[in-house]
Amino acid sequence: MRGRHQFSIHFLQYLDPKGNLDLPLPEWTRDRPLLLSIYENMVLARLLDQKSVALQRTGQMGTYPSILGQEAISVCTGLAMAKNDVLVPYYRDAPAQIIRGMSPAEIFMSWGGDERGGNLNTASRDLPICVPIATQLTQAAGVATALKIKGEDSVVVTSCGDGATSKGDFMEALNLAGVWDLPIVFVINNNRWAISVPLAQQTRAATLAQKAIAAGIEGIQVDGNDPIAVYEAISKAIERARQNNTPTLIEALSYRLCDHTTADDASRYRDADELQTHWQEEPILRFQQFLHQQGLWDAEREKALQSRCQQTIDQAVEEYLAVKAEPTTAIIDYLHAFLPYTLESQRSEIQQKEAPVNT
């Protein structure tokens, strides 16, 4: 306990913004289908994102938080996890949720103000997205504790934004993961902004990864727009968690190329140049160039992929817009397993109201 203690935080990057390698590729990159799947999911994510914004703008969906430029983080999270693992996501994790079996239509539903969007395929035990910042993190620790108590070899992956690291829950969860040896991976999408508050006003820490030191756990910083670095860090962390119940904090450095949500106007507080420079580092083009260099990609493939994804999205929109309204009583029927008799009169009142027009 006494004496001098040394700590260090490393930064991991394989692909520079131009898509050139500055480290030898890890083993797993031999798996070409995986590389292509990373790319395809990022492309799908971006199209889904664009469509979501469009639906909101045309009044067909509610407020939506775009993930423009941050696709690599959530995509690699989804791909690095095993089916039996549990995802405890935050609201910019649609890509991971889709990879884990949620349909794009369900994503639209959640943001369209329909609770059924959180139902996923009923087989899943992933948590739905969480709006109160950082509150998902202590829940994730609880999920990891449950897996451990039940003797499963599954792990938990949970995520949050840079702003979330200022809320006490973040450190409470990290600290517990350390002292209880929980099989959990914390992924921070450091997109440099919390609505209008830049990272520099969020903390004086040089990195967010070093917050792991306070909990006595592993922390690493990666280029969050480099899919290879992100996948490598997350899959290694998952492995450690699965083998030895060792928790890890991963800070994925990215940038929010969009407004905070469709309700926000970032031009009020962020200057255009900063935005422009970060467009040079966005993950999709970067990874496409890499695939080209590896001889894994060409214009034709790109064209095919784009239209394939576009189709998926268009179908999802149709599906979404065709969804039948829930019975009005749904607003009270899921409150408890069994409706307390005291609520029966309220339920019949609700039953007599007609469903509101879908807005």
Partner: protein, 356 residues
């Protein structure tokens, strides 16, 4: 003895039928003289022995058995995996419980004193109470949060409050308060088996008051009914928790003067079993409600309001509430000034009797 883990989906039904599932022949049943806190401990031992998905967590609950000894010997009996001392963070305790509950466990968390629950409210209100609704039943939150509450033990600041009304206003949370060892045993079993979140408030002032002989048969009590402790014709007296003792004295006093008071222990303050209360007031036409919490905004107000709405024509006198004053709970030296007692309750009864 069922030691299989309830699946997330299975949970609701498991718990729903839990009562029947437990033939009392299953294990040899002993009866025991218990005070309230011992009854709680007995219920925890029983349920942990019969349901491997039950997990206990909180500050000082494991090795120390809880600062009030409510979790005594659970760690010895069921091990460190299922009985856990947490780091010092109430928000964490609540968040952990929510997370565990979504994965088929039944966490029974202890908040050391109700005065320290506030850091846990974000998880309880935003998540525990909503997880089932938010996921349309895919994930559920069958957790219990136990908290000692109430005044009268000369404790330091923040150790004596009664803020049950805050929790009772949250749809999705059940709020249960025992007033005797027997009801503590049965209600806690009911709370743990309930497929949804239950806040279980323990009146610490009577933790070691009157012992009762409890048959450790695992029989739960329902969480949607008041208990009529004493039948009466002239006045209805409604209360819960530690004050039930004072109320009982008051009932005796008036009995000697030929006035029969019907005493109702609300027990589950949310959801409120108004049927029982309305029936009683329809009979007596007079009603007094007593609680330790500040009078304004307390649960007594909700009960009185429902009487004003549904029983106006039955009422022969104004509905009187006896509560704490609308001020901060005083430090120990003056808490007696704050707490309503036999005199105040008896007074209110006198007034409603005198009226009209």
């Amino acid at each position: 003895m069922n030691v299989s883990f309830s699946t997330t989906d299975g949970l609701a039904t498991d718990s729903a039928t839990a009562l029947d599932e437990r033939p009392s022949a299953e294990m040899q049943i002993e009866s025991k003289e218990c005070v309230l806190v011992e009854a709680i401990n007995m219920a925890l031992h029983y349920e942990m022995a019969h349901d491997a998905s039950v997990v206990v967590l909180g500050e000082d609950v494991a090795t120390n058995g809880g600062v009030f000894r409510a979790t005594l010997d659970l760690k010895q009996a069921f091990g460190a995996e299922r009985v856990r001392d947490t780091p010092l963070a109430e928000g964490l305790i609540a968040g952990l419980s929510v997370g565990m509950a979504t994965q088929g466990l039944k966490p029974v968390a202890e908040i050391q004193f109700m005065g320290f629950m506030f850091a846990a409210l974000e998880q309880l209100i935003c998540h525990a109470a909503r997880m089932r609704n938010r996921t349309r039943g895919r994930l559920t939150c069958p957790l219990v949060v136990r908290m000692p509450f109430g005044g009268g033990i000369h404790a330091p600041e923040h150790h004596s409050e009664s803020t049950e009304a805050l929790l009772a206003h949250i749809p999705g949370l059940r709020v249960v308060i025992p007033s005797s060892a027997t009801r503590a045993y049965g209600l806690l079993l009911g709370a743990i088996r309930d497929p949804d979140p239950v806040i279980f408030l323990e009146p610490k002032r009577i933790y070691r008051a009157q012992a009762q002989s409890i048959c450790n048969d695992g029989q739960a009590l329902p969480l949607d009914t008041c208990f009529t402790l004493r039948e009466g014709e002239d006045v209805t007296l409604i209360s819960w928790g530690a004050l039930i003792s004072e109320c009982t004295q008051v009932v005796e006093q008036w009995h000697e003067q030929g006035i029969s008071v019907e005493l109702i222990d609300v027990a589950t303050v949310s959801p409120l079993d108004m049927a029982t209360i309305l029936q009683s007031v329809a009979k007596t036409g007079r009603c007094v409600i007593a609680h330790e919490a500040p009078k304004t905004g307390g649960i007594g107000g909700e009960i009185a309001a429902q009487l004003a709405e549904h029983a106006l024509l039955d009422l022969k006198a104004p509905v009187l509430r006896v509560g704490g004053y609308d001020t901060v709970m005083p430090y120990a030296k003056k808490e007696a000034l704050y707490l309503p007692g036999v005199a105040e309750i008896s007074n209110a009864i006198e007034q409603v009797l005198a009226f009209g």
